[in-house]
Symmetry: C2
Subunit: 475 residues, 2 copies
């Protein structure tokens, strides 16, 4: 882990001291000697972390932190305040101004490096997500400073792992009063179990769990999928600081030293919950963008792109497992009339309703895609020809049975569909050839009077597959 760190202090010897320490550990160091130039450097150079002196003439560290937090270009950079102040009220003020942590002068090297590495690691992970989201355009990397920090951290769902009843009760009281909801586990096993529940915003772990190793539990949370990215706040005694460095290395995200100060507890809880939610939001947006690429915007079923990517692989997979795979091609009958009579919006409504009805009529492991226009394809794994006929016949009946509500028509409109089905029997058949046979069968179903299913003939061994029927645009 390497990182670019901005050191801000008005006393040159302090700057040089930190610079030497960090540089010896192969961090890159930027420096600033007052608040204003700190803001400038942070804005222009985008460091991975800022070490910020609190007491400076002119603009002090609190104000610098606040300004960094309200600038869309710098709000996400972690800040560690460095201070001679040991008063809890000052620590809380710093946290509320936006600091992620405090280190006391003289700075202890182990604490410094552990904290710096842990925060820089989180920052790099976030950056990767931010950059990727920025490419989609839904997310503007410059315009996403959270407007209401209080709100972003409200109603947190917190898991507390704590065997001391007294401490558990007082922490629960403080957090509940602030609007968070707390569940408590008293053993490692119970904690891992409760950690599996979705929607957790924060885990608090007491380092000295009765008879168990708190750090071991943190490590297990980090290797369990459901809790890998949930922030962990470690609660420890002043004399357990040596274990803190190990904890940060394992992946805990913050800590509180007993006796616990009410306001510090609330401030650190807020910071962690806010980061967690932001991280979640980035993940969700990314997943959403990815799923959009493979979804038909109108009907919400898979698009042709997805089907094209899947069908060849599915055929190979099935052939390897010596199972048949079938496809059906479904085309809405006289769809053009719906469009011409009731307008495009009504045509769209029918497409949506058909997609929904087909989804309800196929099996969970079948895959429905809109192939284009009014044409859908269903891929049916492990399905022999007879079964595919059964499913296709059922779909035909389901579509015909209940007339469709169409905007622009006072009474529901009867709509039918024609289906061509084909089953891959030869290992060598490609997706293209299979679809072409289904398309030919669909053409026969149309010619046979529509609202019916035709099964494709098996491809002849020597003769190449018949060319696909003309695209069924006007049928």
């Amino acid at each position: 882990m390497t990182a670019r760190i901005l050191v801000v202090d008005d006393i040159p010897v302090n700057v040089r001291l930190l610079e030497a320490k960090l540089s010896a550990e192969y961090f890159e160091v930027l420096t600033a000697s007052d608040g204003l130039s700190a803001l400038e450097v942070a804005h222009a150079q985008a460091p991975d972390l800022i070490l910020l002196d609190v007491m400076m003439p002119g603009m002090d560290g609190f104000e610098v932190a606040e300004r960094l937090r309200s600038d869309p270009k710098t709000w996400h950079i972690p800040i560690v305040m460095i201070t001679a102040l040991t008063d809890t009220a000052d620590r809380v003020r710093g946290l509320e101004a936006g600091a992620d942590d405090f280190l006391s002068k003289p700075v202890n090297d182990i604490a410094l490096f552990a904290r710096v590495r842990s925060l820089a690691r989180l920052k790099v992970m976030m950056d990767e997500l931010r950059v990727r989201n920025a490419t989609t355009g839904e997310f503007d990397i410059l315009g996403e400073a959270p407007q209401n920090a209080e709100e972003d951290a409200a109603n947190g769902r917190i898991l507390m792992v704590e065997s001391e009843n007294l401490l558990a009760r007082s922490v629960t009281e403080i957090l509940t009063e602030a609007g968070h909801s707390i569940r408590r586990a008293t053993s490692n096993n119970e904690a891992l179990e409760l950690g599996r529940e979705p929607g957790l915003d924060l885990i608090m772990v007491n380092l000295s769990l009765a008879g168990e190793d708190g750090l071991r539990l943190c490590s297990q949370f980090r290797s369990q999928d459901e809790t890998r990215h949930v922030p962990i706040l470690l609660i420890l005694e002043e004399n357990e600081l040596a274990q803190l460095a190990k904890g940060l290395e394992i992946g805990i995200t913050d800590y509180l030293i007993r006796p616990i100060d009410r306001n510090e507890l609330l401030a650190r809880t807020r910071t962690q919950i806010r980061r967690r939610r932001y991280h979640d939001q980035l993940h969700r947006m990314l997943d959403n963008s990815l799923s959009l690429a493979y979804t038909d915007a109108l009907t919400g079923v898979y698009n042709r792109r997805y089907m094209d990517a899947h069908l060849d692989r599915k055929i190979l997979e099935m052939v390897e497992a010596q199972k048949p795979v079938s496809v059906m091609m479904l085309d809405i009958d006289h769809f053009k009339q719906v469009n011409d009579t009731y307008g495009h919006a009504s045509g769209d409504a029918v497409l949506k309703a058909i997609a929904q009805r087909v989804t309800g009529g196929i099996r969970d492991f079948d895959l429905l895609a809109r192939y284009g226009g009014e044409e859908f394809v269903v891929i049916m794994p492990s399905t022999p020809a007879e079964d595919s006929m059964m499913v296709a016949e059922r779909l035909c009946r389901m579509i015909e049975a209940e007339p469709f509500e169409v905007p622009g028509s006072e009474t529901p409109v009867v709509i039918t569909a024609s289906i061509g089905a084909a089953t891959a029997t030869k290992p060598a058949e490609t997706a293209e050839a299979l679809l072409a046979r289904a398309d030919t069968a669909l053409y026969q179903a149309k010619n046979g009077g529509r609202n019916q299913v035709c099964l494709a003939e098996e491809p002849e061994a020597a003769v190449p597959t018949a060319p696909p029927a003309v695209a069924a645009g006007g049928t």
Copy 2:
């Protein structure tokens, strides 16, 4: 960093020893006492790393490694072989079987943990990419074992940072003979400069560069965007092993100890290049999927989804900067006739050609999206009404001027378009209102005889905006 590690050794006391060491550092440990059960555990539990004893009765470590590498479920798990063998030929055999590294018995703790953490970190990063890609369906997490490892690592582009001429020459000779192409830098600055060039597969750094610090350079490579993910192979002397742990922590990916063995050099180079290309491929596929979500499949320009996401923000941005933003809505005249006369495929060809011609006629900072059917929208930042009229008029002329090649027609077909333009003037105007005004203007252009541009009237202060014209489906 925490990870699940599989320890494989036929001697129980060796297993217990490694298990104790790893567990004390909060790694999770799985164990197996022979080759077959190692394969089973690896397959079922998907560990993050495998520590593999070489000499075991029955299936030895080489064979286990080979089998792990050829199983699509395990090929990506890093393997460190643990061996009493010190013969270089054995090391090379292990690397060729698929090991990522070797540790000699008795295992040195610092080397062990540095290597384990470094490989586990890479693995976690890869997993994140693999999982995300798997959701897109283009990539099957189970079916992607590289079929031809040799080929995946051929023709590597390597940057060698080396001040010793003799060493540089012999390494270059070996690698060039194997088909790689080498560029050499002799100083840190030159190295960072050359590192900026795209397409680099591997960087080799001599730890003892004349007068400079090799690790500092590695750290700089890691903070420079272009080289952040390029593997680094460190070359060092036997007596510099202490610095290796630091190097692995900074992010170097592999190392070679002098004197350099030709086959070991080639094997490690191959492994690194292959991993780099795999990582690159995952990144590319992800970016590709993301861009698909915002691209119109037919024409390749932005889709409506992207435009909807952008326009509101662009308006706000422009209003803040006190600059006007204009939009134009362009609709192809009598498009239905093209479809009806020459078929859908010809209609599609015209849509593509129009998108291409419009792209050529707008400015670099304008944004073209297909809005639906035969309708396109152009967003024009910093553009007052007069300028938008000029651009729109030019587009009209460009489309009309040169008839379009249409499949199905022997002579090119004259096609025209109508355009409605509107400029956001009030800070309060939404994207929706702005587009509605452009749509009304488009309707006027159609009514005025098509093949012309109409400029929208400014919205009246008190009266709400006129409702948008009916979708121009049949115009």
